[in-house]
């Protein structure tokens, strides 16, 4: 057991995992992800296709081997940090005055022919060092600590990764992501989640009032705007959804993802010598005389560029139905017994369909907290290096011997330079 924990806590494992995770992450970028199984079998041939599916390379980042490596990384990170924490805490709490004045690390000596009290005053008041109060054998010991707290900053960085991974996990378990497709004028609460067949129904509705595309003078798109109304029981809230400006309501966020155009047909209907103009779209059937329902079943673009609409006329009383095709300039006549109806396509009006991505992710807060921790932690690690400086002042009959020394967590090379600076200051200014 101890062996396993030792293995899981080792820095060797950590470094191996960094590089293995880097290697494993490559696979998923080489293949299109999340396509149906058939896609891989056709594109890469049977053998290679089956191999891809067997190893879950089609969904690499959610495969058992990737998730397991990520999980091992998380465990290694946690155990490693917990093991080292007591050492860092000890360093954090350690009293710098405890040091043996003859054994200061990185020792550097200089001799000054100046008055001891003057030197001591300079060290305390100008250099802001603290004097060790207890008795020191042959002189006076001073110390100064910098960024003591930063012994713990690396744990903030490690903790931030735990937050981010946990946040991601929460999102996968308790969140969802899907599409809400709305045609102008339509109201819906039905979300089609990605990768699942069952729709999700929100407890409020969204109505698309209007969809607008703004263009630059050269014809490039400038802005896509969905003008929507949230309908929640008796409450109505108007809002605009743009790219980079999502709408958030009840922890659910709506993003402008895409759009499409659907045609709306303007048709004239002639029955018993009476002619009416109506618009027909695929959302709602048209009703005439409370007797006939007209459905737009489908439409297609003909090679010549004109649109063909397939309509279905249902007699509500008998259930009898007839199907016909409508093209501009070519009237369509259907007979129900002795009743004759003539349809004529007068024109086509485009109707926009806005595709909104809908998301609920309760993990985002934790992920963002992780981001903040990582930034603060890295700043602390880089710019607030824990350092301690000591000055040991030893008067003797010829003058004053001064021993300087210091220790740092990482940047040991620059310490020597800092000590040389300190020595210069003492020589010149004290």
């Amino acid at each position: 057991m101890k062996k396993i924990v030792d293995f899981l806590a080792s820095a060797k494992l950590a470094i191996t995992l960094f590089f293995i995770l880097a290697l494993f992450s490559i696979f998923g970028t080489l293949l299109p992800q999340g396509q149906p199984a058939q896609f891989y079998l056709i594109k890469y041939g049977k053998t290679l296709g089956k191999f891809i599916l067997l190893l879950h390379l089609n969904n690499a980042y959610y495969s058992w081997w990737y998730v397991a490596t990520l999980f091992l990384f998380l465990i290694n990170l946690t155990i490693c940090s917990l093991r080292r924490l007591p050492i860092s805490l000890k360093l954090f709490k350690w009293d710098s005055s405890e040091i043996d004045p003859d054994k200061i690390p990185n020792k550097m000596s200089l001799k000054l022919n100046k008055d001891v009290t003057r030197i001591n005053a300079f060290i305390s008041n100008v250099l802001n060092f603290k004097k060790v109060e207890k008795e020191i054998k042959e002189g006076y010991l001073f110390f100064r600590d910098f960024n003591r707290w930063s012994y713990l900053s690396v744990y903030i960085v490690h903790l931030s990764l735990v937050f981010i991974l946990l946040g991601g996990l929460i999102g996968v378990i308790w969140g969802f992501k899907g599409n809400l497709v709305l045609i102008e004028g339509e109201t819906s609460n039905q979300i089609m989640p990605f990768g699942k067949k069952e729709p999700i129904f929100l407890d409020f509705y969204l109505k698309l009032n209007k969809f607008t595309i703004e263009l630059y003078p050269n014809g490039m798109p400038k802005e896509y705007i969905s003008n929507v109304t949230v309908i929640d029981k008796n409450k109505k809230i108007d809002a605009l959804i743009k790219v980079n400006h999502p709408l958030q309501y009840k922890n659910i966020t709506f993003y402008q993802a895409s759009y499409d155009e659907v045609p709306q047909f303007i048709i004239s209907i002639e029955k018993n010598g009476k002619k009416e103009i109506k618009t027909l779209d695929s959302m709602l059937p048209l009703n005439i005389d409370n007797k006939y329902d007209i459905f737009l079943d489908t439409y297609m673009r003909h090679q010549g560029g004109f649109l063909v609409a397939k309509i279905r006329i249902v007699n509500e009383d008998t259930g009898e139905q007839q199907i016909g095709f409508l093209v501009e300039g070519k009237p369509l006549t259907v007979n129900f017994g002795n009743e004759k109806i003539t349809f004529n396509m007068e024109g086509v009006k485009p109707l926009y369909m806005s595709i909104l991505q809908v998301k609920k992710d309760p993990g985002v807060v934790l992920v963002y907290l992780g981001f903040i921790c990582m930034i603060l932690g890295l700043l602390a690690v880089y710019f607030f290096e824990p350092k301690t400086f000591w000055i040991y002042v030893k008067p003797d009959n010829k003058g004053v011997l001064i021993n300087l020394g210091a220790k740092a967590k990482r940047e040991r090379d620059t310490l020597i330079l800092k000590l040389q600076d300190l020595a210069k200051k003492l020589e010149k200014e004290a």
Binding site: N218, M220, V243, N244, Y255
Partner: protein
Amino acid sequence: MQFKNFFIGCILAILIYALSAFGTHTLLPENSLLFSLSTFIYLLAGIIYLIYWIFKWELGALVGSTIGWSGFILNFLAFIVRWIQTHQAGFGYIPLSNLYESLVFFGLCTAGIYLFLEFKLPTKIFGSIVFLVASFIMSYASLKADAEIKPLLPALKSNWLIAHVITCFLGYGAFAVAFALGIFYLLSSKSNFKNYLPSPTTLDNLMYRLILFGFFWLSLGIITGSVWAEQAWGSYWSWDPKETWSFITWLIYGGTIHARLTRGWRGKKMAWLSIIGFASVLFTYFGVNFLLSGLHSYATPNS
């Protein structure tokens, strides 16, 4: 005087700017002209640094550095001019949005990080590779990317774009310089180069510091990109190839830092990791755009 190279470089850059303004009879010369000029100046600086290094021409250090500074300042001026010209085109934006703009900014970051670092360096020979790399990046921009100013697509209209691009390229610039040092380190073990290079320990330390610096900015770059993606597309992470490759780069450098801190990896291993890391940076930046498809398609040459 310590900042002689900087001041003379500034004056040179302003002179070159004034000449090109005079030559084209306008106060604001075409930005792509200025970017091309700084490409040539970087190349010249690189060559002079190279002569200084190989032939031990002592004055060359100052000349190379001065010319390098003038190229950097001109590159920066070109950035400002392009910014103004986007406003003149009727849809102002900070020019950090397409392949061309990001490449010339990459050049600016690489040159800038090196030049500021140079004040603290014991020798100036690294300028040779750094400026050759910077000039290569810039000429690649002029030859392969579309320099025309085009309005921003809706997805790019976000303040996060600016934070994202600046942080990423500061990281990339630092990694580029660390890569140059890695090459120098490997050369330093060859006997015929030994006399021309600073001690391996100096190279090793500098390389490590640059990797630390780059890692900080890369982390910030990934975070800002993530927050932006969350706002624009509703997903802070979607395993898009660009995102994944930035994560791969992050893992390589993260592993490098930990290997040094906990296992004491030094020297050759670090030099190779710095080279592999930079290869990953280049793949994140170019390879993903050209070879794999994804959300960053606006950074491809023909879009």
